[in-house]
Structures are given as C-alpha cells and as structure tokens.
Symmetry: C2
Subunit: 141 residues, 2 copies
DNA sequence: TGTCGATGTAATCAAAAAGATTACAGCAAG
DNA sequence: CTTGCTGTAATCTTTTTGATTACATCGACA
C-alpha cells in the first residue's frame, strides 16, 4: 500500500502559502482550489501543521502563514506532522499462530529489519527542506 | 498509509516452508495455519513467489519448496515478487490545479525526492536475506 | 484408469480505510 | 452585530484489502 496523500497535500499546502503569502489571503478555500480537494481537508491539514509549530492560522479573519525558517522545515517534519504512517510503515498480518515456532517468532525476526528500512526512508526525507523545494519551484516559474 | 500485509505474509510463508521442509508437506493449508489467513491467500502468495522464481509448487500432489539459495533471496526480492506497493510508495493527490503555478509544478518539484526516499527504503530491504532470517530464527528455537 | 488430496483461479462478499461532504458553533475585524 | 473564515463533529461514499466460496485441473498411486 501507500503513504496517504495527506502528506503530499500538506507539502502542496505549504508551497501555496509561501508562493502567495504576499499577494493573497491564503484561506483554506484558496488553497483547496490549487490542491483540488475539499476545503475541510485543508483545514485539517493546517491544524496538524499548526500543532507541529510550522504554521500559524488566524481563526476569524482567515489566512495562514509559515512561522519557521524554510530551511528548518524538512519533508520529515511535515510527514510527522500529518502522521501519515501511524505506527509502522509495514503492515503485519495480525494473528500469527503462537503454537507454531515460526508464528511465535516472526515478529522477533522481522520487526527490527522493517524498522531499519522505514528509518532509511525517513532519513532521506530529513535531507530535503522547504527551502529546497521553494528554490526548485522558483526555477520553474 | 501502509505496505500491504502481503509482504509479511510472503516472508512468513517462506520461513514456514524452510522450517518444515524436512518433516511436513508444506501445503497451502498447513502454511495458512501458521500465518492464520485463508489458504487461498497463501496460494496466491505462492503463485507470486513462483513467478519470481523463488519457490516451486507441485500442483496435484501438493507442497512447495524453495528453489534458490537462501542467501540469494533478499527481502527486496520478496517485496517485489508480491508487488506490495504498486507504482510509488507515496500516494499523490490526483488533481492538482494546472492553472495554479504550484499545482502545475508540484510533481516536478516533489517526484524525485519521493523516489529517492522510496529507494532508500528498498535498498535497506536488499541488505537482508532469507539466510539472515533463518539464522535468527534458528537461534530462537 | 479412477479416486483423492492439492493447486490454480475466478467470482463474490465483507470489513476497513480514506476522503468528501454537510453542518454548524465560535472567533476577529470592520 | 454582521460577515467571512476557522475548528470540529458527524455522516456518507468510494476504494482497498482480504475472506470466502466454488470449481476445474493436476499428479500420484492403488
């Protein structure tokens, strides 16, 4: 399976906020029009990003802005903020038979290996920051 | 979200075949009893592993056996065999707005980064072989 | 060769997960 | 005190995943 689109939606959201911060009020509705999802989805995404201290959202008057230095926000921070793989990345079958020597020990044998693989992926995400993305994006415009 | 349990089921299946190859006929029913899933799920798993050249299955008389050297079968080979992340690991939101500068370029900016992260995870899986797992399992018994 | 226990595979179902959508209370600013 | 937006719960739909049923076919062996 896959990692929820919550993650790419969150990245997209931040890029929209950054790109239009000077010229538009970045409301959930405005962002939703670029990402093309329901505004409520954006609001929930913003809640997660706010809880992680990445953005500030004005209730009432509306609009969001990024409150951290772009180079201090990695893809991993966003990934964690929206909690797109709750628990482990790998999904285990739930009821291995404890009466079987293999079923009893399958977790002991596999869990660490799978965690290592997940960690390798996450480390790669730590290497990329919003500053990298906005730079790349700027070159396309 | 997560990577299908097809993957851990496949690994479990191979470990059962290895462990009992001398003493039992490893039928889909027998394996299913250790993994605790429906025997049809095991048959489908075995079909995938067979297509990847990892096992041989006897139609008719029944039973499966591993046909590769254990140290030549990595977790990555199994992962690929059962095709647990079809396409990319990360799930993109489907309709970014092409009329928006961010929506138009989000793939150009993100795709490579995400592929790199996925590759890092897969490289980690390549480092572990069935030989490693059976050794670890042996120590527990 | 005919029976028996397996596999190969399609078709159908059910359960779970992920999003979309509706609805509405509360806040901030003019 | 009105207006436009956020915060958040509740509900519904769609998709995905895995379970289950069903049956044709195969291989070994009496």
């Amino acid at each position: 399976m896959k990692i929820t689109s919550k993650f790419t939606v969150a990245v997209h959201t931040l890029l929209v906020i950054y790109t239009f911060s000077d010229t538009k009020k970045t409301t959930s509705e405005f962002i939703a029009a670029s990402v093309r999802v329901n505004p409520v989805v954006i609001r929930r995404t913003l809640l997660s990003l706010k809880a992680a201290g990445i953005v500030e959202v004005k209730a009432g008057s509306g609009g969001a802005r990024i409150v951290k230095d772009l180079k201090d926000v990695s893809l991993y921070d966003i990934y964690k903020a929206v909690d797109c793989v709750d628990g482990g990345l790998f999904h285990f079958h739930e009821n291995p038979n404890p009466a079987c020597p293999v079923g009893k020990n399958i977790h002991a044998v596999l869990d660490n290996r799978l965690s290592d693989a997940q960690a390798a992926m996450e480390n790669e995400l730590k290497k990329v920051t919003l500053a990298d993305l906005t730079r790349d994006l700027g070159e396309k415009l």
